[in-house]
Symmetry: C2
C-alpha cells in the first residue's frame, strides 16, 4: 500500500503557501477599491483551511519519500493547486465558468499563457495580478523541480543534471537547500530588475510588475489584449526579449557565474546551442519577413527577434500577428514552438539539451552504420552519455510527439479545424500560449473553444509541464501494483 500521508502533508503546505499568495491580489484590489478583494480573501481562507487540515491530519515523523510517492505528489500537487487557484477566477465578476477558470489557472501555473479572458485592458487589477502571480509561482516551482525532483525521478534524461554528479566534482554547493534558496533569491532579484527596467521604459508600475513576473517565468500572460504589441515600444521589446532569454537559460549557471565562475554561462554547450539556434532562426525569419512583406530589415529584425524568442522560449507574448507573415514564417513559428529553452530554466517543450542528445545519437548511429565494429560514444558537455540517458531522451521525444498527436486528434474530435487543432495541441503540450490561425493565433483567444477542448488542453499543459513521463507513469497499471 502506498502511504499517502507525506503526499497530503506536502500538498497541505503548498495550499497554505497558495493562501498567502492570494492575499497579495486581495490587498491590491482593496487598494484600488475593487470588490474582488472579498473573493480573494474567501479563496485564501478556503485554501488555508484545506491546507491546514491536510497538514494537521497527515503529520508524520519521516518525510522521506519513495519515488512512487514522489510521482504521485508531483502530479497531484499540480492538480490540486490548479483547482484551488481557479476559485478566484470562478467567483470574481468576470462571468467565467469553472471550466474557464480551471483552464486559466492551469495555463497560469503551467506558465503556458493561453487565455480565455477577453477584455484584459479593463479587467480588475486583482485578477490581472493573480494571473501574473500564478505564472511567477509556476516558474520558480518548475525550476526547483527540474533541479531537485526530476533528476531523482530520472524523467526524460533529466538524470543528466543530477546533483550528486556535480557534487563530486564541485564542492561549491554543499546542500540542495542552499541551492534552492540561492535560485529563489536570484529569481526575485531578476523580477525586481525587470520591473524597474519596464517601468523606466514607460510601463505603468502595475503593468511593469505583472510583465516582469510573466517574463522571467516565460509565462506570457499580459495585462493587455494586444499583449506587448499594445505598447509598440522598441525599448520595451528589447527589455522583454532579454528577460525571456534570461528565463530560458539554466538558473544554476547564474549561481555559478555569481560564485566566481564568470565563464560558466558561456562555456555551457546548452547555452551555446540555444543562442546559435535562436540567432539563426531569427535571422532567417527577419530576412523572409523583410523580403516578402516589404518591411525594412531592422523593423523585420525587431519583430522577428521578439516573437521568435517569445515562441521558442515558450513565453507566448506577441508584438504583432506573425500569423500574417506568410507561409515560411508560419511553418517556422509552428515548429519553433516545440523547441523550448534549457533544462533548469522556466521553459518547457522538448528543450535544448534533448536536441543536443538526439543530435549526438543520430551522429553516432550514422558512424555506426558506416563502421559496424567501431566503438562510438556520445558526449554531452564533455561527459559520455549512458544508455540510460540516451534511451530516456529518445523515449521522451517519442512520447512527446505521441501525446501531441493524440491531443491534436482529440481537439479535432471536439470540432476544431485542422490548423486550430494541431496548433492548440502544440501550444498546450509545449506550454507556449498562442496557437495559429484566426481563432487561437496571436491575435486570438481560447474563449470560444468548446468545454471539452479546454479540458483536453488543460491535460495537455499538465503533461507537457511535468515532462510527459511524470504524468503518464500514473496511467500504467504496474504503477499501482505492489
Amino acid at each position: 500500500m502506498i502511504d499517502f500521508r507525506p503526499i497530503l502533508f506536502i500538498i497541505g503546505i503548498l495550499l497554505a503557501t497558495l493562501a498567502i499568495g492570494m492575499i497579495v491580489p486581495a490587498l491590491v484590489d482593496l487598494y484600488y477599491g475593487h470588490p474582488d478583494w472579498r473573493v480573494f480573501s474567501a479563496a485564501s481562507a478556503v485554501s488555508l483551511f484545506i491546507g491546514g487540515a491536510l497538514v494537521m491530519m497527515n503529520r508524520t515523523e519521516k518525510l522521506r519519500m519513495t519515488s512512487r510517492q514522489a510521482f504521485i505528489l508531483t502530479t497531484a500537487s499540480w492538480l490540486v493547486l490548479t483547482a484551488v487557484s481557479a476559485l478566484p477566477f470562478a467567483f470574481s465578476n468576470m462571468n467565467m465558468s469553472y471550466t474557464d477558470a480551471f483552464f486559466e489557472a492551469m495555463s497560469g501555473i503551467s506558465t503556458t499563457g493561453s487565455t480565455v479572458m477577453v477584455g484584459l485592458d479593463t479587467a480588475p487589477p486583482g485578477i490581472l495580478l493573480w494571473r501574473a502571480l500564478l505564472q511567477w509561482l509556476g516558474g520558480i516551482g518548475i525550476i526547483v523541480m527540474a533541479i531537485a525532483v526530476m533528476p531523482m525521478l530520472r524523467v526524460g534524461g533529466m538524470q543528466l543534471f543530477r546533483m550528486e554528479n556535480s557534487d563530486k566534482s564541485d564542492k561549491a554547493f554543499p546542500r540542495a537547500t542552499q541551492i534552492a534558496m540561492g535560485i529563489f533569491t536570484l529569481y526575485v532579484v531578476f523580477t525586481i530588475i525587470w520591473t524597474f527596467l519596464l517601468w523606466w521604459a514607460g510601463m505603468s508600475f502595475f503593468d511593469a510588475v505583472a510583465h516582469a513576473m510573466t517574463t522571467i517565468a516565460t509565462g506570457g500572460f499580459s495585462t493587455k489584449d494586444a499583449s506587448i504589441g499594445y505598447y509598440d515600444n522598441p525599448l520595451i521589446d528589447v527589455i522583454i526579449t532579454l528577460g525571456m532569454t534570461t528565463g530560458a537559460l539554466p538558473f544554476l549557471l547564474y549561481l555559478q557565474t555569481l560564485r566566481g565562475r564568470p565563464l560558466s554561462l558561456f562555456r555551457d554547450s546548452q547555452v551555446r546551442w540555444f543562442v546559435t539556434i535562436a540567432a539563426s532562426i531569427i535571422l532567417a525569419v527577419a530576412i523572409w519577413h523583410s523580403e516578402v512583406n516589404n518591411v525594412g530589415f531592422w523593423t523585420a529584425l525587431r519583430f522577428s527577434s521578439f516573437n521568435i524568442i517569445s515562441v521558442m522560449t515558450g513565453t507566448g507574448y506577441a508584438t504583432t500577428d506573425y500569423g500574417l507573415w506568410g507561409a515560411f514564417a508560419v511553418a517556422v513559428f509552428f515548429f519553433v514552438m516545440f523547441v523550448g529553452g534549457c533544462a533548469g530554466s522556466t521553459t518547457c517543450g522538448v528543450k535544448i539539451f534533448r536536441l543536443q542528445v538526439l543530435y549526438e545519437i543520430a551522429k553516432i548511429q550514422l558512424n555506426h552504420m558506416l563502421r559496424p565494429h567501431g566503438v562510438f560514444i556520445a558526449y554531452y558537455n564533455g561527459k559520455p552519455l549512458t544508455e540510460d540517458v540516451t534511451e530516456s531522451v529518445l523515449s521522451f521525444f517519442f512520447l512527446f510527439v505521441f501525446c501531441f498527436v493524440v491531443l491534436a486528434a482529440g481537439l479535432g474530435a471536439m470540432g476544431l479545424d485542422f490548423v486550430t487543432a494541431i496548433s492548440s495541441a502544440g501550444t498546450a503540450i509545449a506550454n507556449v500560449g498562442p496557437g495559429l490561425g484566426p481563432i487561437v493565433g496571436p491575435s486570438g483567444n481560447f474563449a470560444t473553444l468548446p468545454d471539452g477542448a479546454k479540458w483536453m488542453m488543460s491535460a495537455g499543459m499538465l503533461i507537457g509541464r511535468l515532462e510527459v513521463f511524470t504524468v503518464l507513469i500514473l496511467l500504467s497499471p504496474d504503477f499501482w501494483r505492489d
Copy 2:
C-alpha cells in the same frame, strides 16, 4: 579511395533492365496507334546505351561490396533510374517540363503517387502504363532492398530482419537468391490475380492491369483524375482495399505461409498490430463520418475503410474528398499518413515494427523510472531487442521527424500555405501521395506548385523511401573520409 566500378556496373545493369521495361509502353502505344511509341523507343535506346556502356567499362572480377559502396549504390541507382525514367514524360506530347517529368518519375519509382499530370482520363495509354510500371518496379525493388540490403546496412532498426538470424533457426530458406525469386514470383502472381479481380469487377482490362500494379505496389497512381472514386463501385473498393493490405504485409511471411506454415501470417506481431491499428482507426473515423456528416453507417464504413487503408499503407488512392469530412477526420488522415505498413512490404512511413519497438521502449522506460534498479528487457516478436536496434529505431524516428520539419519549412519558403506545406512534406517523406487542403488534397494536384517545391518534394520522397539514414549518411563528411 572508394572504388566506383562495381557501383557503376550495377547501375548499368539496372538501366539495361529499365530499357527493357520501356519497351512495354512502347508496344502498347504502337498497338493503340499512339505516336508516343517513338518516345519510349528512343528513351529505351538511350537507357540501354548508357547502361551498356557502364557495364562494359566497369566490368570487375569481384562483385563484393563494402557497406560504403552499398550506400552510394542505393542512393545513386535510385537517382539515376529516376532521371532516365523521366525522359518519356519529358518528351511525350504532355507538355511537361523536365522538373515535372522528374517529379512524376520520382513519385512513381518511390511509390509515392503524387502527380503533376492533369487530364489522366484522356492521357495516352503508354504514359499511363509507364506510370503504373514505374510504381510496380519501385515496389518490388523496395521489398528486395528491405530483405537483402537494409538489414545488412543496419538502417533504422532493419537489422531486426537480418537473414542470417532467421537462417540459423530456419533451414527452409537456404539461399537469398531463392527467396528473392520466390518473392518476385509471388509479386507477379498477386498482380495477375488483382488484374483479373478488377477486370471481373468492371474495370477495362487496361485499367485493371494498371491499377493492379499500383495497388500491390501501394503506389497509388491511377488512370483517372478522380482516382478510384471514378468507378464508384463498392466491389472495386473492397478488392483494392484487400490488395493494398496485401501489399502492406511482410512478403516473407507469404512465402512461409505457402511453404507449409499456414499460421505464420497470423502469428506475426507486426501483422497483428497493423490489423488492430487499422481496424480501430477505420471504426473511429467511420463513426465520426456517420455521426457528423449524416451518412449511413455502412456507407461511412465503406469510405472510411478504403481511404484509411489507402493513406495508412501509403497507397494514396481516394474514393472521395475526405478532406471535407471535418476536423477530426482531417487530423486523423494527417497523422495516419506517417504510420505506414510492415517492414518487408512495399509500404513506406515510420512502419509498424518501429511503432512496436517505440512502444516497448517507452514501457521499459516507465518501469525503469519506477524501479531504478530493476532489469527490464524489451522484446520484439518474442526476441529481446539489443541496444543497437532500439537506438537505431529511436534515431530513425527523430531523423524522420526532423526531415519532415525541414521539408515543411522549406516548402513554406517556396510560398506554400501552412496546410499545403506541412501535408506535402508529410506525403512526400512518407511516400503517400495526396496531401491536405484545396491545392494538394485528394481532389487536388501538385501541378501548380513552384519548381523549387517540386525538387524539394522529390528529395523528400527519396529520403523517405530509402529509410532516411541511407541518404543522410552520404551528407556526412565522415562518410567520404578514408
